[in-house]
Amino acid sequence: MTTRIVELRRGILKKNDELAAGLRASYAAAGVLVLNLVSSPGTGKTAFLERTLRELKARGARVAALVGDLETDNDARRLAASGAPVRQINTHGICHLDAEMIGRHLDGWDGVTLGGLDYLFIENVGNLVCPSSYDLGEKIRVALLSVTEGEDKPLKYPTLFNSADAAVITKMDIAEPCGFDRELALRNINEIRPGIRIFETSAKTGAGMEEWLGYLAEARSVRNG
């Protein structure tokens, strides 16, 4: 018996990483800012995104969204009410979006090209674990957390929060009846991802949206940064 050790030193998700690098280059060439929104199911990603799309459109920005779910096109229909082009990605049981799914759904999207967009939002499958491993070529990964979920969510799911570029707290309008401890939540997010920008928002009242939209405009003006 002759045994031999073969060094491979290869990323397990190399294929996804390569596809994501290709997407990132095409987003940059088209000058579109791409964001990947990640949270648990029920955090209010869709309501937050719906308001974001509506407000950006009202300011004359060209926006579109890809939305991932295991099944149904309910979220795409909700988001389409904003007037922005929206395409549903059904993963049929897969717990995350990957770069291949994004590429496939950008192709042949009726009337939508990257070059014709200022912002593209990707609403990931509701899951705080698996999406953190899959790069979609986005420039900004946004981790969302609602006031109903408990202030220690960032500590329970550190891998996702640590990989985020911005954090959004949703449903701030019901923070008080929920007994939400704002200071503690901010501290926990900062403990896991020091220095991260945090937005405290309500899709219902519009609280915090100005600051969030300002951040988006600023991020877009820093081209290929």
Binding site: T3, L13, S133, T159, S163, I192
Partner: protein, 120 residues
Amino acid sequence: MHELSIVSSVVESVTESLGAYPGAKVLEVRLRVGALASVVVESLEFCWGIAAEGTPLEGSQLVVQVLPVVVHCEACGIDSELEGVQSFRCTRCGELCGEIRQGRELEIESFEIDEVEETA
């Protein structure tokens, strides 16, 4: 719970590399997984047998080396190895550190094969 797709990618990668060693039997595959990689080692091991079945990797051993998080402190200029993933502070000065130097790895390090002896 994407561990099955992760180990399936490993099986695929190793199988591809086996082209250079016809007839070889795989004994062991070594992975390096960071503490921030979002995968559960026990689930990887559990899924390994299922993913390897019917491939040249069937019966092989999966060995996972878990890499702790290492952060870099700007103020002290040193790297700190952390015990967990609940707090990202410099072990010397206690300040929060945003720069991760290790902990996100998800890679195949190597695999061990039993080569077929050439018979004259």
